[in-house]
């Protein structure tokens, strides 16, 4: 097994401890995430996934348990915590709401500037991050406020990419976007992963999107890590996932029903393409091609 870039040890977090509003958001989570993997993080609202990811760059301090990034204990020296924010880049939901600079260029440069880099280095990073998110140079001098929704989202993501984090965490990067915008962002992320080898954690409600991109899946349920493993393994438990109230792709539900009725269809069909192949194989067409 490759080196673990992220490791949590019995991580727990309790909100407003000792008040009537006390709430356990993360409960004894121990996971290891391999360097260079693409992890899909799934769970419904309130499952603890947002709290969990905020522990990975030190925005939240665990009530108990530990977080290690690249083998280093995150909270060994609390004064040093900012360093980890650059190692683990976190893009929040609706990141376009955090844009504030006069130009796109300056906004993307905010992170690198906080790192204390030289002007040349910052400029180089801005250009690179813009390229990764498909923003051409003429965007850089525009005000972020005059861009369309999808473009703003890209600027916001570029702002985190420019820090060149070893781990990139995105909290529902496609929320509210139309299919075209969704596709664009996801393929940019995939592309970034392939080119840089960075570790990616993609928080999403869409199992379909996760199925298409992620090598591993972590399921959060009731503040606990309910499942963690290779994408295909985790998604073969369609029924359990349904029970947790997760949004299982339509096509998976269709195939689960067919299995119930006694048809010999594969266990984890997640995409239309897989479904098509499965049906063709059963019909004896294209089964040879697959073999």
């Amino acid at each position: 097994m490759a080196e673990a870039i992220i490791r949590t040890e019995n991580l727990s977090y309790v909100y407003s401890e000792g008040t009537p509003y006390e709430h356990r958001a993360v409960d004894g989570v121990s996971i290891e995430i391999e360097k260079g993997s693409f992890v899909g993080l799934i769970g419904h609202t309130g499952s603890g996934k947002s709290s969990l990811i905020q522990h990975l760059n030190g925005l939240l301090k665990p009530t108990s348990g530990k977080v290690f990034i690249g083998g280093e204990d995150l909270w060994a020296n609390p004064k040093d915590i900012r360093r980890f924010r650059f190692k683990v880049g976190l893009v929040f939901q609706y990141p376009e709401h955090q844009l504030f600079e006069e130009t796109v260029r300056k906004d993307i440069a905010f992170g690198p500037r906080n790192m204390g880099l030289s002007d040349e280095e910052i400029e180089a990073r801005v250009l690179e991050a813009a390229k990764h998110t498909g923003l051409t140079e003429d965007y850089l001098e525009k005000s972020p406020f005059e861009l369309s929704g999808g473009e703003k989202r890209r600027v916001a993501i570029a702002g985190v990419l420019a820090m060149k984090p070893e781990v990139l965490i995105l909290d529902e990067p496609t929320a509210g976007l139309d299919p075209k915008g969704r596709e664009f962002i996801l393929s940019e992320i995939k592309d970034y992963h392939d080119k840089t080898g960075a570790t990616i954690i993609l928080v999403s409600h869409s199992m379909e999107d996760v199925a298409r991109f992620a090598s591993h899946v972590l399921i959060m349920n009731h503040a606990k890590a309910a499942m963690y493993g290779k994408t295909r393994e985790v998604f073969s438990h369609v029924e359990e996932l349904c029970e947790m109230g997760l949004e299982v792709p339509q096509i998976s539900r269709v195939f689960a029903k067919l299995r119930e009725k006694g048809y010999e269809v594969p266990e984890s069909v997640l995409t239309v393409d897989e479904a098509k192949k499965a049906v063709l194989k059963l019909l004896g067409k294209g089964g040879e091609a697959d073999a």
């Binding site: 709430h23 924010r85 893009v91 929040f92 955090q98 504030f100 905010f110 906080n114 406020f145 985190v160």
Partner: protein
Amino acid sequence: MLKDITFGQYFPGDSIIHRLDPRMKLILIIVYIVLLFVADGLFSLLIGAAMGIAFYALSKLPWKLVIKCIKPIMPIIIFTAVLNIFFVEGDPIFEWKFISVSGKGVLTAVLMCIRIICLIAGSSLLTYTTTPIALTDGLERLMKPLQKIKVPVHELSMMMTIALRFIPTLIDETQKIMAAQKARGADMESGNIIEKAKALIPILIPLFVSAFRRADELALAMECRCYHGGEGRTRMKQLKLTAKDFGAAIFVAGGFAAVILMNMFGPEVFRL
């Protein structure tokens, strides 16, 4: 989490004080404050204090709330007391070097302390037992006559309501923006004052942009629900004075009368 906490000091309950008409509560608290200042001696002030205690007992709130509301103004109380003890002139009852303490000074200090405590505890009781929305509502209706002299009473109260509605939302939003900028390495803790003020820009700009966007959308949503100012508007909740409101009024009026009588005919000791 922050969003769970009811904004303001409202402390849910179902006591007779909670159920009083907010207009009556507002009027009575004003009368009570006047009463505290009319009282010119220890005995009349004690009547006022007793009334306050009675109201708290009726509200069935935990007593520690009294301490909670007085805590923040403790320095003022102590300061007032010290000032009065040492600087009110009169026959000295205690002298040491240049310090002299008069009996009148001690009395003034004690009276002032009781007065301030009753004042704060009384007005806190109002906010503890009345939701901010009921307060706004009560104020709007009480001030309605002012509309005749062109005071925009409805508009003011609408603004109050919207502010109350959006404060938790904006607090939530501020926290999110702060977390997001911190994730980009924003440093908000270190540096001198100017650097700290500068560090606020990445938070304030998105916050304002968002507040304006919200305002815009809210205005549209209100228009779609036929909002057109206070003219011809009715209210679902009608405030009605009931027996308990008159009972409370009589109680306070009685207390007021007792204080005046005590001022006029009470013992001449412990007076200012």
